[in-house]
Amino acid sequence: MIEALQYEFMRNALIAAVLASVACGIVGVYVVVKRIVFIGGGIAHAAFGGVGLGYFLGINPVWGVLPFGIASALTMGLVSKKTKLPEDAAIGILWSAGMALGVIFISLTPGYAPDLFGYLFGSILTVPLSDIILMVILDTVIILAVSLLYKEFLSVSFDEEFATAVGVPAEQLYLVLLCLIALTVVVLIRVVGIILVIALLTIPAALSKQFTHSLKKMMFLSALFSAAFTICGLWLSYSFNLPSGATIVLVSGVCFFLVSLIRKAALPHSAGLHEKGD
């Protein structure tokens, strides 16, 4: 892999892997501890409408995903908080409606949609510099938001009702959190693609949860895990000519299972795969 680094696309891929790990390491922890994995999945898939919009308008599809992701995050949050529609039903509707919109936009776009597959399943080897700059900006926004609102996010994640009772604007913070998920989707879309975003939002954070009970440490750990998974997956996909996004996800999944099994064998009564989830 070292000799591969002389290629610009490989250096960009490595940088993208690290930038993606920062975003999913931090935001994935909230997704996992607040148990909103499927809201994350819904936002990610609905954002496909943004990819379609990008093609339709003839701009970089990633620029379409950003507003579309934020709009779907806000819709998801408001619908689940303000209406009586059950949250899972809201997720299902937005999830599929967003994707359907994307398909319509793409069919309305004259000609052939190049690298559409890349947005669905990731194409880390073709990340252009402009996307890397966008990823740096979004990572900065995520880090800033989480460091400024760390104690508030912690309280809202742990006990939303108590947080409200002491005067924390829990509902607004929840919406901010969902928007951070949307930003993370934008960061991850080049790395693993819309369909597989949920893997990087979940696996590193769920794995780090087995090692610490501090949210802050979880964030560092899961960013590290995620970087290890993406770089390892990148290397495997380069060496064996496999699709990069899928390889990264499979590496993450296999590592998660192996580590969980080893921990379970080593510490039979401690945290592991079969943690009670009440």
């Binding site: 104690k151 508030e152 309280s155 994640s157 742990f158 006990d159 108590f162 009772a165 002491v166 009970h213």
Partner: protein
């Protein structure tokens, strides 16, 4: 000097998803009160607590806490929700949970101040949980968790402390200690505690009320047998320890 009124409810009705939980509840609470509210499950106990917190808006009637709407007085209200509400798997330490009580006073966009930390460590000491401050909250026993939540409520430095079934997960052997702690706290605040357990609540409180949608309350520690029966919709026999129309043991 007349005791200061801490909270007041006047003819409060609630309508939540078409279900009436409270019917014309009127209640005045004064400083140093330790009010125990008993009633069957589904009788509106939790709703009453949430009305006093401003989390549930009454469809009719008026609620004030220290002369203003409860949601404006949240800094002065401590609250311990029902035990079952939290995720025991959540990665958070005892100290961090207790610190959450300071959120109403701490500055947004900042870390907790040293004063916040000191107050919180003091409260953990008060409830006897200082040694376990770095443990994960979910690893503690039910009684220990309840003490942490009490500390979290205390660091808000409340004038009104609301407890929803606080003893539900606490070993009977540890309950007395907690009750005594609460009794001591009434020097600084008024306490409202709801529970379905008549026997446990009665000895330690100094006011008692019955709630089953309607509230029976006489600003005293007395409840008539027929009111209890109206509350529980069945004859109640375990009350009246020798003294007619009393729920409690006689004061020593």
């Amino acid at each position: 000097m007349a005791p200061q009124e801490i909270a007041s409810l006047k003819d409060v009705w609630t309508d939540y998803d078409g279900v009436t939980a409270l019917e014309g509840v009127t209640l005045s609470l004064y400083e140093h009160d330790f009010l125990g509210i008993i009633g069957p499950n589904g009788g509106g106990k939790t709703t009453l607590i949430k009305v006093m917190l401003g989390l549930v808006k009454p469809s009719r009637g008026q609620v004030t806490v220290l002369g203003d709407a409860p949601e404006k007085q949240r800094k002065l209200i401590g609250y311990i929700p029902q035990y079952s509400l939290f995720d025991r798997d959540f990665p958070v330490s005892v100290l961090d949970v207790a610190l959450m009580g300071r959120l109403g006073r701490a500055r947004r966009f900042r870390k907790y101040s040293d004063a916040d930390e000191e107050t919180t460590l003091g409260a953990l000491e008060t409830v006897g949980m200082l040694d376990l401050k770095d443990s994960q909250i979910g690893k503690l026993s039910g009684g220990q968790q309840q003490r942490v939540f009490l500390a979290r409520a205390l660091v808000t430095e409340p004038k009104l402390l609301l407890l929803d079934e606080p003893m539900a997960s606490v070993d009977v052997s540890l309950q007395t200690g907690l009750y005594e702690l609460l009794e001591k706290l009434t020097e600084k605040m008024a306490i409202v505690m709801v529970s379905h357990d008549i026997g446990a609540i009665s000895v330690h409180v100094n006011k008692i009320a019955c709630l089953n949608r309607k509230l029976f309350y006489h600003n005293s520690k007395e409840i008539r047998a027929e009111e209890l029966e109206a509350t529980y919709k069945c004859p109640v026999q375990l009350i009246a320890h020798g003294v007619p129309h009393r729920v409690l043991k006689k004061h020593k």
